[in-house]
C-alpha cells in the first residue's frame, strides 16, 4: 500500500531533463518516464500491464516503450520485487512467451542504469526505472546530459 501511495507522488527533476519520476519507494527504486507522456498517476495494475506489455499505449495514444536492465541486475530484481511485486523469473517467462509466440514485443534490455536513464530521457513514450541517490536525495537522472543525438548513436552501437 505504501508503495502505491509513494508512486502517486510525482517528482519532476530540474528543468532541462526530459524525465519525470515517481518518488523512490522504500527499496530506493523509482519509476521514470519521458516527460512527454505526462505525469499522471501510475497504479500497480498500470505498471504491471505496462511491464508485461499488455498495455501498449499511453493515454495520449502514444506508443509505450519499455526499457529494463538484465534479469540478473540488482536494480532490476529490486524493481520487480518492490515495485511490480513479481518474481523476476515470472516476468521473464511472460516476455519469452510473447517473443516466441509473436504476440508481443518484450521490453528492450539495456546494459547499465545510466544507459537506461539516458534512453528514457531521449525516447518519446519511454518508461523505465532508476535507483535513487540516497546521499543527495536526488535522482541520478539529473546527471545525464539530455543530448538525444549522442544518446541515440550510443544506443545504436550497443
Amino acid at each position: 500500500m505504501s508503495a502505491l501511495f509513494i508512486l502517486t507522488t510525482v517528482f519532476s527533476s530540474y528543468s532541462h531533463a526530459d524525465v519525470v519520476s515517481s518518488e523512490a519507494n522504500e527499496a530506493g527504486v523509482m519509476v521514470i518516464r519521458n516527460a512527454d507522456v505526462g505525469s499522471g498517476e501510475l497504479k500497480l495494475a498500470d505498471l504491471r500491464a505496462i511491464f508485461a506489455v499488455r498495455k501498449r499505449r499511453w493515454e495520449n495514444k502514444a506508443p509505450i516503450k519499455v526499457y529494463v536492465l538484465p534479469d540478473n541486475h540488482g536494480l532490476h530484481q529490486r524493481f520487480c520485487k518492490s515495485v511490480l511485486k513479481v518474481y523476476p523469473y515470472v516476468l521473464r517467462e511472460q516476455w519469452d512467451r510473447l517473443l516466441f509466440s509473436g504476440t508481443g514485443i518484450p521490453p528492450t534490455t539495456v546494459g547499465s542504469e545510466e544507459e537506461l536513464i539516458a534512453l528514457v530521457n531521449a525516447t518519446s513514450g519511454a518508461i523505465g526505472y532508476a535507483a535513487v541517490d540516497t546521499q543527495k536525495g536526488m535522482p541520478s537522472i539529473e546527471k545525464i546530459p539530455p543530448k538525444s543525438s549522442e544518446l541515440e548513436s550510443e544506443a545504436s552501437t550497443k
Binding site: 500491464a49 501498449r56 509473436g102 544506443a155
Partner: protein, 386 residues
C-alpha cells in the same frame, strides 16, 4: 528428388541464417520498432527399451530446433509477427523449414484496465500453459514436453500446433489480478502425409486425403498477483475427414474435443505446476462408431537452487483408453537439471523413466517391434537464443 534437395539445402540454410542474424542483426538498434530474434537447440538422446527421436538406443543427435522470428510495430495498434522454424525429431519431424506463425495483430480497443484485439494469419494456439511456445527450449520445462497433456511423441502435436485463421484476444486487469481470454477459429486445411504417418502409423498409407475442418481453440487464463498463481481452462474442438483409397477401408471422420485444466504456483525458489487433460475422440465410419477417451495429467515441481540453476521433477500419468484403464495406462517419471550460464545459453540434462507405450513414437521403432513397455532415456540439450 526435388523434395530431397529442398531438405538438404534448407536445413543448413536455416542454421546459417540463424548464425548470421545472431552475429549481425541482434546488435542492431533495439530502439527501432523492427526486431529479429531466434533460437537454436541441439539434443542428444540415449535410451534403453525403445527409440525416441532417431536411433536413440545407440545414441541419437537427431533432435534439433531452430527458428528465427521478427516483429514489427507498424503503429501502436498494429503489429506484424512471423517466425520460421526447422524441427528435426527422429522420424517424427524431418527438419523442413515451416512457417511457424505469421500474422497481423490489430489491437482494436485498449483502456486502463482492459484490451481487445484480433490476430489474422497463422497463429499459435493457446492450449495448456506451454503449447504456444513448445518448440523453444527456453520456454518449456524440460527437453521433452510432458507427454501427458501435450502428446509430443504420437503425432497429436501437429493438430494442436497452430491455426490458419483468426484469433481474438482480450484481457481485464484489476489491482492484483489479470484475466485473459483467447479464442482461435482456424480454417480448413489438408494434412500432410508426414502428419498422417505420425498419427496412424502404417495405416496412414490407406488414407488418400485428410482434411482438418474448422478447428476451434479457446483459453481462459486467470493470473493472480502478477503471475504468482495461474489458473487456466483450455478447450479444443476439431473435426477430421479421412478419405480412403482402399476398397477395404471406408471413409471415416474423427471428431476430437479436449479440455485442459492448468494450475501453477510460483514461489521465490519453487514452482509447482499441475495440468489435467481429457481428450475425447469419436471415429465414425459406415460400419459404426467408436468413442475413445484419453486422460492424462502431470504434477511438476521446479526448484531454483540459484537463479541460473534449476532442478525439475515431474510425474505423468496417461490413459489411452479410459474404458480399458489397466491395459492402456502409462507412467512417466522425469528428473532434470537446467543451467543457464547467461541469458542466451541453456544446458539441460534430463532422465526419463517411462512405463507403458504412451508417448513412444511408433515411427522411430519400426525396426524395434514390438514396442517395449519400459523405456529409459538420458538426454542432454544445449540451446542458444538471441
Amino acid at each position: 528428388m526435388m523434395r530431397y534437395s529442398y531438405r538438404k539445402y534448407c536445413r543448413p540454410a536455416v542454421v546459417f541464417l540463424a548464425a548470421l542474424i545472431g552475429s549481425s542483426l541482434s546488435c542492431a538498434d533495439e530502439n527501432t520498432d523492427l526486431q529479429f530474434h531466434g533460437f537454436l537447440s541441439q539434443g542428444y538422446l540415449l535410451s534403453d527399451g525403445n527409440n525416441f527421436y532417431g536411433n536413440s538406443l545407440r545414441g541419437s543427435t537427431d533432435y534439433r530446433e531452430a527458428g528465427i522470428n521478427s516483429t514489427w510495430r507498424a503503429s501502436p495498434t498494429l503489429n506484424f509477427a512471423g517466425q520460421i522454424i526447422s524441427r528435426d525429431a527422429g522420424n517424427t519431424d524431418n527438419g523442413d523449414v515451416k512457417v511457424d506463425f505469421l500474422f497481423a495483430d490489430i489491437k482494436t480497443f485498449e483502456s486502463d484496465a482492459s484490451g481487445l484485439g484480433f490476430r489474422l494469419g497463422r497463429v499459435r494456439n493457446a492450449f495448456g500453459l506451454y503449447n504456444d511456445t513448445r518448440d523453444v527450449l527456453f520456454t518449456r520445462p524440460t527437453i521433452l514436453m510432458p507427454q501427458a497433456v501435450y502428446f509430443e511423441g504420437n503425432g497429436f502435436r501437429e493438430l494442436f500446433f497452430a491455426s490458419d485463421g483468426i484469433q481474438l484476444y482480450s484481457y481485464w486487469d484489476s489491482d492484483e489480478n489479470s484475466t485473459n481470454f483467447n479464442f482461435t477459429l482456424g480454417r480448413d486445411k489438408s494434412l500432410s502425409a508426414d502428419i498422417l504417418r505420425n498419427l496412424f502409423g502404417a495405416s496412414a498409407s490407406l488414407v488418400h486425403k485428410a482434411e482438418f475442418k474448422t478447428p476451434i481453440f479457446m483459453q481462459l487464463l486467470h493470473s493472480r498477483n502478477g503471475g504468482d498463481s495461474k489458473f487456466a481452462f483450455s478447450m479444443l474442438n476439431v473435426h477430421l475427414d479421412l478419405h480412403s483409397n482402399s476398397s477395404f477401408f471406408s471413409d471415416l471422420t474423427l471428431d476430437a474435443s479436449g479440455y485442459v485444466f492448468s494450475a501453477q504456483k510460483n514461489l521465490a525458489t519453487w514452482t509447482f505446476t499441475a495440468e489435467y487433460s481429457l481428450l475425447s475422440t469419436e471415429f465414425r465410419t459406415s460400419l459404426g462408431n467408436e468413442v475413445n477417451e484419453i486422460e492424462s495429467a502431470y504434477l511438476q515441481a521446479q526448484y531454483r537452487i540459484r537463479p541460473e540453476f534449476t532442478l525439475t521433477s515431474r510425474y505423468e500419468y496417461i490413459v489411452l483408453d479410459r474404458d480399458n484403464r489397466s491395459e492402456t495406462d502409462g507412467h512417466h517419471l522425469v528428473f532434470g537439471a537446467r543451467w543457464t550460464p547467461s541469458p542466451s545459453w541453456i544446458v539441460d540434462i534430463d532422465v526419463y523413466g517411462i512405463r507403458g507405450q504412451s508417448g513412444i513414437p511408433g515411427v522411430d521403432n519400426v525396426d524395434n517391434m514390438p514396442i517395449s513397455e519400459r523405456t529409459e532415456i538420458f538426454s542432454v540439450m544445449i540451446g542458444y537464443r538471441f
